[in-house]
Structures are given as structure tokens and as C-alpha cells.
């Protein structure tokens, strides 16, 4: 291993500080409570991993929720069969989702473009239906897989008497509720970000960018692109499995709805919203979507009425009637609108917006051009 470049190191340190300080700086936004923070971490990992396949390699998977769900089920099974400790559950989940991704990836990657996307979608929907009904003995179907007092937990019982009361996941005997759970997930997000950063700046990452840019040239240049794309697929599947396992650690209940196509679509939205192909973009996309989902889905007509109270009665009612369609259950309507606006006006996502603003500042300051930043074309994540 070699040392990181200075820019990479700064980005990593900055990211670490921002993540660890989230309970502080998110306080004014009313988002600094553990449950939501954990979700920020978990979906951040999911999006970072998805970006390795989509942003870097250019393969749009519409079925990554399958690996997320497999990770959750594997983790809960580890809690049930082995131990309530989170570490074996994470390892087990990553291995199982990696194997699952290997099989699905091997078949799906025989095609590219839209056919690849459709294949992954088909596999994910099959997985969802298997989990929902066919494999009920493994997944507990509609109810979802839960922990019970009678779980065998062979490892735990071999070492000590099971603690009485409702079983909850732990880390080396410490409970993972509240902020402990957040920091546990944050550690994984930082690690996941670090690995993604290494991959992006490695020769392997360069090959993935080459595949995205021109697969024909890669082939005529002497690369067998299949194992490269498969490796990217499996790595991103393992990321999804890790994220799914963390969700099971913070809330040990795995349900089939986690694997549904809407969940697969959500991670696509997060990545594109933040900026596919960039390192931090997908994380920001995940955070924003989870944040606004939290806010918008909590709003109901009463709150809207209070909000529009200052207006005359008739106007008030009309506005509430319209805006109520976009909140609560209608949150997805808002998300869809925002997504359309982003894709139309900022196809590079939020990161492109940031770059444009930075560029504007650069120009207005008319600073002498820095030799290291002479690239005229924006090249994300390099």
C-alpha cells in the first residue's frame, strides 16, 4: 500500500469530521437523533457502493435492493443462530450478499445497457417474491424475520448464559442502541468511503472508468472486461449487504419490502441526485433524500393548515389541498419532481452544482490558474 495523495487525504479527513460531528451540526435541522442518523449512515454506505458499479463502471443496476435485503436476512440469521454480537453478523452478511451478487452478476453481466438493467430488476423482483412467499421458512414471509427468546444462538450459549429479556444486538457485550448505534454505523460509513476512495484512485478503478468510457477500446487494448465488471458488481453487492446488515443491527427485523423495486430505485435516485461518479455525491444524495423523506412524510394537513394560517380562508384551503398531495404519503411525488428538475437542469447532480458555483467564484476572482488544476473538462472523482 502506498500513501494517499494529499487531496485524497484531505477529502477523507474532511469527510470523517463531517460524519462524526453530525449529531452536532444536524442539531439545528432537527435531525440529530440516533434513529435518523443511523439511516443516514446506512443509506450512505448503500449509495457509495452502488456508485462503484453505476458511477464508476457505468452499469445501471435496478436490483441492488436484493443485496441489501439479503444482507439484512443474513445478519438476522446470524443473530438467531450464532450470536447477538454484531461482528459475526456483519461478516456473515457481507459474505452471503457477495456470493449472491456473484451469481446474479455473472448472469446479468452477459448483457449491458438496458438489458443489464432489466435483468437485475428481474432478479431483484424474483428475490423479493421468494422472500415474501416462497422461502417463508427462511424469511418468515410477510411478518418479517425477528429475534425471539428461543433462538438457538449456539455461540452465545456455548460461552455464557443468555441474558434474559428481549434479545438485542450488541457489540462485545455493549448495547448498540442510540448514539452507540450511530457511531457503530458511522465507523462503517467512514471505512466504506475510504475503500471506495482507494478503489477509485487505483489502477483497477481506472479500468472501471475505462469500461464506462469505451468498452470496445478496453477489449482491443487487451483487457478482459468481464471479470472487471463482475468484481465491481460483487463489491457493490457487498456494500449493499453491509448496509442491509447495519439496518438489521439497529433494528433486528428483516422484511421483504426492503428488496422491492422501489428500494432499488431509491438508491439510483440518491446516486444521481448527489452526482454519479463522484465520491461524496452519492452520500449527500442519500442524506438529503432520507432527511426530506423524514420531514415530508411527517407533515399532515393539520400542520399545513397551521403553516398557511396567515392567508385568507379560501386561499388557505386551496393551498393546503394542493400541497397536501406532496407530503405524507405523497412524499414520493415531491421526490419525483425534484429528481426531474435535477436531471433536466443539473445532470451531474448536486456535485455538478457545487462545481459550477466554485467555477463561478474562480472566474470572478480572476485568480492566476493553478498548475495542478489545469483540466478544462470537469473530471469527477479523480
Amino acid at each position: 500500500m502506498t500513501v494517499m495523495s494529499r487531496n485524497d487525504l484531505l477529502l477523507f479527513l474532511g469527510f470523517t469530521v463531517v460524519v462524526l460531528a453530525m449529531p452536532i451540526w444536524l442539531h439545528p435541522f432537527g435531525a440529530a437523533y440516533p434513529d435518523l442518523l443511523q439511516r443516514f449512515m446506512i443509506y450512505g454506505i448503500f449509495a457509495v457502493g452502488f456508485n462503484i458499479l453505476f458511477g464508476l463502471t457505468g452499469y445501471l443496476s435496478f436490483g441492488h435492493a436484493a443485496f441489501f435485503g439479503v444482507g439484512s436476512y443474513a445478519a438476522v440469521w446470524s443473530f438467531k443462530l450464532l450470536s447477538l454480537d454484531a461482528i459475526p453478523a456483519m461478516i456473515f452478511a457481507i459474505v452471503i450478499s457477495g456470493l449472491f451478487a456473484l451469481i446474479i452478476g455473472y448472469v446479468s453481466l452477459r448483457r449491458s445497457g438496458i438489458y443489464f438493467s432489466i435483468l437485475t430488476l428481474a432478479f431483484a423482483q424474483m428475490s423479493y417474491n421468494l422472500a415474501y412467499s416462497v422461502l417463508t421458512p427462511i424469511t418468515n414471509g410477510e411478518t418479517g424475520l425477528q429475534l425471539t427468546l428461543n433462538d438457538p444462538r449456539y455461540l452465545d450459549r456455548a460461552m455464557f448464559e443468555a441474558a434474559p429479556g428481549q434479545p438485542v444486538p450488541t457489540l462485545l457485550g455493549q448495547s448498540l442502541g442510540g448514539f452507540a448505534g450511530f457511531y457503530f454505523c458511522a465507523g462503517f460509513l467512514i471505512l466504506a468511503f475510504f475503500i471506495a476512495q482507494r478503489i477509485t484512485s487505483s489502477p483497477f478503478g481506472m479500468m472501471l472508468k475505462g469500461i464506462k468510457s469505451n468498452q470496445t477500446r478496453m477489449n482491443y487494448t487487451g483487457f478482459n472486461t468481464k471479470p472487471y465488471t463482475l468484481a465491481a458488481f460483487v463489491i457493490s453487492g457487498m456494500y449493499a449487504g453491509l448496509a442491509g446488515a447495519l439496518l438489521a443491527v439497529t433494528d433486528p427485523l428483516a422484511g421483504a419490502e426492503r428488496m422491492q423495486w422501489t428500494a432499488s430505485g431509491e438508491v439510483v435516485l440518491m446516486t444521481i441526485l448527489g452526482g454519479a461518479g463522484t465520491l461524496v455525491g452519492p452520500v449527500i444524495g442519500a442524506w438529503l433524500i432520507k432527511y426530506f423523506e423524514n420531514i415530508f412524510s411527517a407533515i399532515n394537513e393539520n400542520i399545513l393548515h397551521r403553516f398557511f394560517d396567515f392567508l385568507p380562508d379560501g386561499v388557505d384551503n386551496v393551498l393546503v389541498a394542493i400541497s397536501s398531495k406532496f407530503v405524507g404519503e405523497g412524499w414520493f411525488l415531491t421526490l419525483g419532481l425534484v429528481f426531474v428538475l435535477i436531471v433536466v437542469f443539473l445532470p451531474g447532480g448536486i456535485m455538478e452544482g457545487v462545481r459550477r458555483i466554485a467555477h463561478l467564484f474562480d472566474r470572478s476572482r480572476r485568480s492566476p490558474t493553478k498548475p495542478g488544476k489545469a483540466t478544462p473538462h470537469p473530471q469527477p472523482a479523480e
Binding site: M1, T2, V3, M4, S5, R198, I199, S201, S202, P203, F204, G205, M206, M207, K209, G210, K212, S213, N214, T216, R217, M218, N219, Y220, T221, G222, F223, N224, T225, P227, Y228, A231, A374, T375, P376, H377, Q379
Partner: protein
């Protein structure tokens, strides 16, 4: 049948597309170190022949032998790893990546082979490969543009960069598909100069070309293709005086 200095042997190749006999009875021997041009009117089968050599198309019968290895049935990446590089009619480049990275990628393919899970090293630590790529860009006169995105280059520069991408692999055989197609006279001339320069390195080249100016300034040997058959074969002077060639170009093609 293959003599020691024949590096590429296209042996008795036929290619049919349905009822169309695109290539018939092609027998072509390319000698080591030579520049072998394949010329012919439109639709003569030049590109089909190149695609058969490079493994993009499978011949209906016959085979292609490169330095003792049968190419027929191998995948493009395997053929490249045997030491054959190709320049396309429309440059195939990594438009989103910088010029330097465009040239580093083939160098990595040469060093690391068809697949290597090289994800713990940093690209910045590949100083050897980087230096090699910079030297190569210096050679083709593009060093000052190394940080530019390849997609923003002019057509002539894209071609030169693509050539650099092939040359950095030190291929034993370089295939050029109309390297000056769609270029201005100026770009064509600089490309000819560049190809002459690499000729002195003793690399074997097969070049498909429309432009007779290019062909006669570069080729050691010329094969003339018409309606899927080789109708003439020889040095530029022999071909120039061949009545069959004149007929194919002036009368027979109509």
C-alpha cells in the same frame, strides 16, 4: 508453409454474409517489419478483412495465423495480448478521461495482462507507467495536452493519441484502418510523418487506406482487393503498373 519471416498469414479465408461473398480465397502473407497496405474500391471487403484478422468477425472458412498462433476464434483482448494493436477508422478512445490516462491504460494492459484485481495500489504510485506514457506523448508531440479530456481533442489529435495508445504497448503488429480518413491535408501529412517515424522502429504494420498518397508514401507492399478477392499483390511500383488494378479502380467497379 509459413516461412520464418512471415509474421501474419491469412490463409485461404472466406467470409459470407448470407448470399454475399464478402471475402473469397484471401491468402495474404505479411512479412516482419514491413508496412503492408490493403487497398481497393469501396465495398471491396477491406474492413471485413481487418475485422477477420482482429477477431471481430469469424471467417466462414480458413484461418488467420499470427506468429504460429491461430487467431481465429480468439477474443479481441486475447489477440491484443498476443501483440496486435489496432487503430480504428473513427478513433476509439476514452473520451471522458485525460490524454495521459488514455495512454496509461494500454501500458497497464501490457504490464498486468488481461485482468488484475489491482485495487490497493494508488495510480499515483505507478510512476514507471506514468513516465512511459509521458515519454510516448512526447514522441507524438502531445505532451502539452496530457491533462486535457481526450474527448475535447481535434480529430487529428485523437488519431495521434490513439496511435500513442497502440504504440505504448510495443505491438509486434499494428493494424491501421484508414488512419487519415476524414482528416485535413495538414493532419494527413503529420500523420504520415508520424507513421514514417514509427516505421523506423521495425514494427510490422497492416494499413487499410483509401488515400493513394498515403499508401504510396508508406507501403512496402500492397495488396489490391476488389469484390472480395485479391487481384494484385506486390511492391508499390508493380501494383501501380498492373492493368487489373487500373480496371478495378477506373472501370470494373461500376
Amino acid at each position: 508453409m509459413t516461412t520464418p519471416n512471415v509474421v501474419l498469414h491469412v490463409a485461404d479465408v472466406h467470409k459470407r454474409f448470407g448470399g454475399l461473398h464478402a471475402l473469397a480465397d484471401i491468402d495474404l502473407q505479411v512479412e516482419e517489419g514491413q508496412t503492408h497496405a490493403i487497398i481497393g474500391p469501396n465495398g471491396a471487403g477491406k474492413s471485413t478483412l481487418l475485422n477477420v484478422i482482429i477477431g471481430k468477425l469469424a471467417p466462414s472458412s480458413g484461418q488467420v495465423v499470427f506468429d504460429g498462433a491461430i487467431l481465429t476464434g480468439r477474443k479481441p483482448y486475447e489477440i491484443n495480448q498476443l501483440g496486435i494493436a489496432r487503430v480504428f477508422q473513427t478513433p476509439e478512445i476514452f473520451a471522458d478521461l485525460s490524454v495521459l490516462h488514455n495512454v496509461m491504460i494500454p501500458a497497464l494492459a501490457k504490464r498486468d495482462g488481461a485482468f488484475k484485481l489491482n485495487l490497493l495500489r494508488s495510480l499515483d504510485s505507478e510512476t514507471g507507467i506514468r513516465q512511459e506514457a509521458e515519454d510516448m506523448l512526447e514522441d507524438v508531440g502531445m505532451h502539452s495536452r496530457r491533462e486535457m479530456a481526450a474527448g475535447s481533442l481535434s480529430r487529428g489529435d485523437k488519431r495521434r493519441m490513439e496511435l500513442a495508445m497502440c504504440l505504448i504497448q510495443h505491438p509486434r503488429l499494428l493494424l491501421l484502418d484508414e488512419p487519415t480518413a476524414g482528416m485535413s491535408r495538414h493532419d494527413t501529412n503529420t500523420t504520415i510523418e508520424l507513421l514514417k517515424k514509427i516505421k523506423s522502429r521495425g514494427m510490422t504494420k497492416v494499413i487499410i487506406e483509401h488515400d493513394m498518397h498515403v499508401v504510396f508514401s508508406l507501403a512496402d507492399k500492397i495488396s489490391v482487393l476488389a469484390q472480395g478477392r485479391i487481384i494484385a499483390d506486390g511492391t508499390p511500383d508493380q501494383v501501380r503498373g498492373n492493368p487489373k488494378v487500373q480496371e478495378a479502380y477506373l472501370g470494373g467497379a461500376h
